[in-house]
């Protein structure tokens, strides 16, 4: 039930009356508090985590192993080292958050955190709002996060407040009503930086409600793809296949870092042979199907709304129809579907636990596909994140090259979405 308007307004005033609660605390200590709180959340038996896990499962329909994995990866990455590394690489030093520091060849400067940060996650991705909130707190900002009904962010913020009471004022999670809520309008209008995750129309709406000077950091929906060279494909073994399967199946393929299409270099594709005769692709499909079956045991699929199930069924049925006519193939691996050689003039299906395998003669064809389908690529999964992979990533607009098995486990100190982690939350003050 929503609070009466008067109460909500009073709360907003009270919140605003205690700004900058973290200002007096050295950044290294703030980082330490955050890392310590995250460490407690790494324990699967930690009571708040147990409650959050159940709530997330109820909200999203993901299975316990999947939610556990998500929380493990989320909180185990929030370490002192990672937070300091990201801060130092972007700001030059952690000390720059505390006051003016000398900088070689540049004016001395203070990376002073902005006053108010709002993080809005319209997505249902587990804990996606926590990373930007953590970095904003490292910058000593007051942070308000739109929390989901599972109250994961609120629970983590409570742990922070147990580390130091200043977090009780600086880090707030609120249930979000959306629409024309005046509280939300005020929060967004007064925010110095707004981080938003969501679909295009959601981001447009949020952007329109921000102040004209506010920094708006949008994270729209994106896709991720993988590539196997011919040699890698021919030598594909169970271990590598399981890493690929994990990238495709975790979170039912519904994250921007999920593997949505796997491109396989093959001689047959180079010579224009029919997919049915492509032995490389057939080998990959066979090994990968077995891997999917095993990974599906470790990470069982979540519940599916009837509409999504119908979409998956229709896509699989159409692929079966094509295969019956000699075009491509369909393999099942547990609850996953591998569609071999789908039509090139179609984008990936973006359906839960459905992975298209696309034979290509070279990286040029991967780049051509991404360009033709106008795919906004987030990550490129590869066996070896080498210079060749980086070159392909650059061509397809990807912002991350990751080894298979780690696509859905981005480092906290990395540039999610190609954006800085902490730089958006500070205002530089130069002392010349």
């Amino acid at each position: 039930m929503r609070a009466p308007l008067l109460t909500r307004c009073s709360r907003a005033v009270a919140d605003a009356s205690e700004p900058g609660a973290l200002r007096a605390i050295p950044a290294t200590r703030i980082i330490g508090f955050i890392a310590d709180a995250a460490q407690r959340w790494c324990d699967a038996d930690f009571a708040p985590r147990v409650r959050a896990t159940a709530a997330i499962e109820a909200r999203l329909g993901y299975t316990t192993p999947v939610v556990d994995y998500a929380l493990d990866r989320l909180f185990s990455g929030i370490t002192r080292d990672a937070l300091e590394a990201a801060t130092s690489s972007e700001l030059g030093s952690v000390a720059a958050l505390d006051g003016v520091v000398e900088r070689r060849g540049a004016p001395a400067a203070w990376a002073r955190g902005v006053d108010r940060v709002v993080v809005v996650s319209s997505d249902t991705t587990v804990g996606v709002a926590i990373a930007p909130a953590v970095f904003a707190l490292c910058a000593k900002c007051d942070v308000v996060v739109k929390d989901r009904s599972d109250a994961l962010v609120a629970a983590f913020f409570s742990s922070l407040a147990q580390e130091h009471p200043a977090f009780a004022h600086a880090a707030q999670a609120r249930a979000w009503h959306g629409g024309d809520d005046p509280d939300e309008d005020e929060l967004l209008a007064r925010a110095d930086t707004v981080v938003a995750f969501g679909r295009d129309e959601t981001l447009r709406t949020i952007r329109a409600r921000c102040g004209v000077d506010a920094r708006f950091i949008p994270f729209g929906h994106r896709a991720s793809i993988g590539r196997l060279t011919r040699a890698e494909a021919e030598q594909l073994d169970d271990a590598l296949a399981e890493r690929i399967a994990r990238d495709a199946l975790l979170y039912d393929g519904e994250g921007c870092l999920s593997l949505h299409a796997l491109f396989v270099h093959s001689d047959a594709a180079r010579h224009g042979a029919a997919s049915a005769g492509d032995e490389t692709l057939a080998h990959v499909a066979r090994v990968l199907a077995g891997a999917c079956e095993r990974v599906a045991v470790e990470f069982p699929g979540g519940s599916r709304a009837p509409g999504r199930a119908a979409q998956v069924g229709a896509y699989r049925s159409l692929a079966t129809f094509r295969a019956a006519g000699g075009r491509g193939g369909v393999l099942r691996g547990g609850d996953a579907t591998l569609v071999v050689d789908p039509p090139r003039d179609e984008p990936p299906p973006f359906l839960p636990r459905v992975l298209p395998l696309i034979a290509v003669p070279s990286d040029d064809a991967v780049a051509a596909y991404a360009a033709e389908q106008r795919l906004p690529v987030q990550a490129l999964g590869v066996v070896a994140p080498d210079a060749r992979a980086a070159a392909l990533a650059e061509r397809i607009g990807a912002v991350r090259v990751a080894p298979f098995g780690a696509m859905q486990d981005p480092p906290v100190a990395g540039h999610h979405g190609g954006a800085p982690r902490i730089a958006h939350f500070v205002r530089w003050i130069d002392r010349e």
């Binding site: 991705t125 995750f197 979170y251 509409g307 069924g313 079966t320 179609e346």
Partner: protein, 370 residues
């Protein structure tokens, strides 16, 4: 055993249509014979059926077992049991998959016309009325490959008073022409049937609202609404649409009847008469030669009351494929679910359903491409 000939099959289907009756055993027997005929004459369907483990030597034991092609398969291959040069009429399917269109080809319109008229008679003209048809659907003279236009052309020809009007030009509504048509009907004392897509009806009501106008269709008039909002940016709740239509056009809500059909089918569902007193949920009923099966994501039939994807088994689809899978969601209802009328409750395609995660989705990608 040799497969039945097209003539023999057509005669049996026409008999069922004429009698408007087909028991379970007779339905299955005819369905199996049609399946045999189609896998003998529609090579892509035969290959698809073989992949599902069925052939002339192993026929489906139940209606639910008949291999159903996805509707999009019509865009992938020619699904016709006769040579291309024998095609009499073809209807163009909407291009919702990869932008490609498909064709539903008919060797003759005899079955198609018999099926549509028999259902229309019982579902829209049970009182025997001879109406004037004011159509907000494609004019078959301009768009001969629109199945909806063809259908209303046949109805107007067979059941109309000879003064039917067509008021849709491309996507543009001829509102003035429609209003003149209504005025003429009133002057003639003839009740009308407004045949319209949901989207065209919204357009008409918007136009009337802009003019501050309401009209009163002649007594005994009715509206046949079909088509939904697929591919449209604006979606209006059916309850709101019917309420507005009732007020602005002067017909009771119970005289607004939804038809549900597909280009890939030869037969149609209609709102059951007993469920028309309300707008939602209405129960769709099929003619005896058309059956709905609701299936899960793996194509397994679901019991009554459980929501899944709707599959159609349409015996009037003699010239193509009798079993078609759709992504439309629905649930069968009957006495076991507390429904007074057995049939199908449609739920659409969950438009706007919340997606989990931050992955791109096909809808967003298409929108970004413009």
């Amino acid at each position: 055993m040799s497969a039945a000939t097209p003539g023999e099959l057509d005669a049996r289907i026409l008999a069922a249509i004429g009698a408007y009756e087909l028991g379970d055993a007779a339905f299955l027997a005819l369905a199996r014979d049609l399946f045999s005929y189609q896998i003998a004459n529609v090579a892509p369907y035969a290959a698809f059926a073989r992949a599902a483990g069925f052939s002339a030597a192993r026929l489906p034991a139940r209606v639910e077992d008949i291999p159903a092609v996805p509707a999009a398969a019509f865009k992938e291959a020619r699904l016709a049991a006769f040579p291309a040069h024998e095609t009499d009429v073809w209807f163009e399917t909407s291009g919702t998959t990869g932008g490609r269109g498909g064709r539903h080809e008919l060797p003759t319109t005899v079955l198609y016309e018999a099926a549509l008229v028999a259902s229309f008679d019982r579902m829209l003209l049970a009182d025997g009325a001879r109406l004037r048809y004011l159509n907000l659907v494609p004019d078959p003279r301009e768009r001969p490959h629109s199945s909806l236009g063809f259908m209303m052309g046949v109805v107007a020809r067979e059941r109309g008073d000879g003064a039917d009007g067509w008021y849709l030009r491309g996507d543009a509504l001829d509102v003035d022409g429609f209003l003149r048509g209504v005025a003429d009907a009133r002057a003639s004392g003839v009740a009308v049937c407004v045949a319209t897509t949901a989207f065209a009806l919204v357009g008409l009501l918007d136009a009337l609202a802009e003019r501050g106008a309401t009209i009163a269709l002649p007594d005994g008039s009715r509206i046949m609404e079909t088509g939904g909002f697929k591919g449209r940016s604006r979606v209006v709740e059916r309850s709101a649409l019917y309420a507005d239509a009732s007020v602005r056009l002067g017909v009771p809500v119970s005289s607004i009847v939804a038809e549900y059909g597909m280009t890939e089918l030869s037969s149609q569902y209609y709102d059951a008469p007993d469920s028309r007193a309300r707008v939602e949920p209405r129960v769709k009923v099929a003619p005896p030669w058309l059956r709905a099966v609701v299936v899960d994501g793996d194509g397994r039939p679901l019991p009554a009351g459980v929501v899944g994807a709707v599959r159609h088994v349409d015996l009037a689809n003699r010239g193509s494929v009798i079993a078609i899978d759709t992504e439309d969601l629905g649930a069968l209802v009957d006495a076991s679910t507390g429904a007074q009328q057995a049939g199908l409750v449609l739920l659409g395609r969950e438009q706007g359903a919340e997606l989990r995660g931050c992955s791109l989705d096909a809808e967003t990608l298409l929108a970004r491409r413009g």
